[in-house]
């Protein structure tokens, strides 16, 4: 979606697995996003808003930087 998304990586797939194979739809429901948007975030195609990123970290009980990593060019 934007230039930042290429440099933004995340551990959502791993964290979903560790959370008892939580589905994308379930995670989406808990943070207020659609399943397709969760899939896009996981694939690095869409960079979520800051508040949404915090909500995801809260769902997994992790800090923000344990869920999302940003690498400067």
């Amino acid at each position: 979606m934007n230039d930042d998304s290429a440099r933004l990586t995340n551990q959502i797939r791993t964290l979903r697995f560790l959370a008892g194979e939580m589905t994308q739809a379930e995670l989406g429901q808990r943070v207020g996003l659609t399943r397709q948007t969760i899939a896009a975030i996981e694939a690095g195609k869409y960079a979520p808003s800051l508040s949404c990123a915090f909500r995801m970290a809260e769902v997994f009980g992790k800090r923000l930087d344990e869920v999302f990593q940003w690498t400067p060019n």
Binding site: M1, L33, T34, Q36, T37, A40, K45
Partner: protein
């Protein structure tokens, strides 16, 4: 394909079908028609697009947009607004000096159609680019 992308495709296809049909009909028969018949001819594609748009809206109205949907829509709207403004500035401020009547109506319609196509096209592009 996501529902909003499908909806945008419906808008694109219905707009193209309706306006291509109208352009063909206007080119063939417009000169021989009176003012009321001309307005009636114009009402046909507009009604068709209205019904299709209403159907597409009713089909997907239960799905609340999330932040990605809104970001895609916002980007598409901002670009399409520029296209619409450019078209209407041309139609409203330049064409009246050289043309009049139905030429102005059709030019304004073309600006609206172009803006709508740009909007729907950018919505499709937005979903394609950010699809997993």
């Amino acid at each position: 394909m996501e529902s909003r992308e499908r909806q945008a495709w419906v808008y694109i296809l219905s707009t193209l079908v309706a306006m291509a049909g109208y352009a063909l009909a206007a080119w063939r028969w417009h000169e021989g028609l009176g003012p009321v018949a001309r307005i009636g001819l114009l009402a046909v594609p507009l009604s068709f697009m209205g019904v299709v748009s209403l159907g597409a809206w009713l089909m997907y109205r239960g799905e609340a947009p999330d932040e990605r949907d809104l970001a895609i829509a916002q980007r598409a709207t901002s670009v399409a607004y520029g296209v619409l403004m450019a078209g209407f500035l041309y139609v409203g401020m330049m064409l009246p000096f050289t043309h009049g009547g139905w030429y102005l109506v059709h030019s304004a319609l073309a600006a609206i159609v172009l803006a709508e196509l740009v909007h729907s096209g950018l919505v499709v592009r937005g979903y394609r680019r950010s699809a997993a």
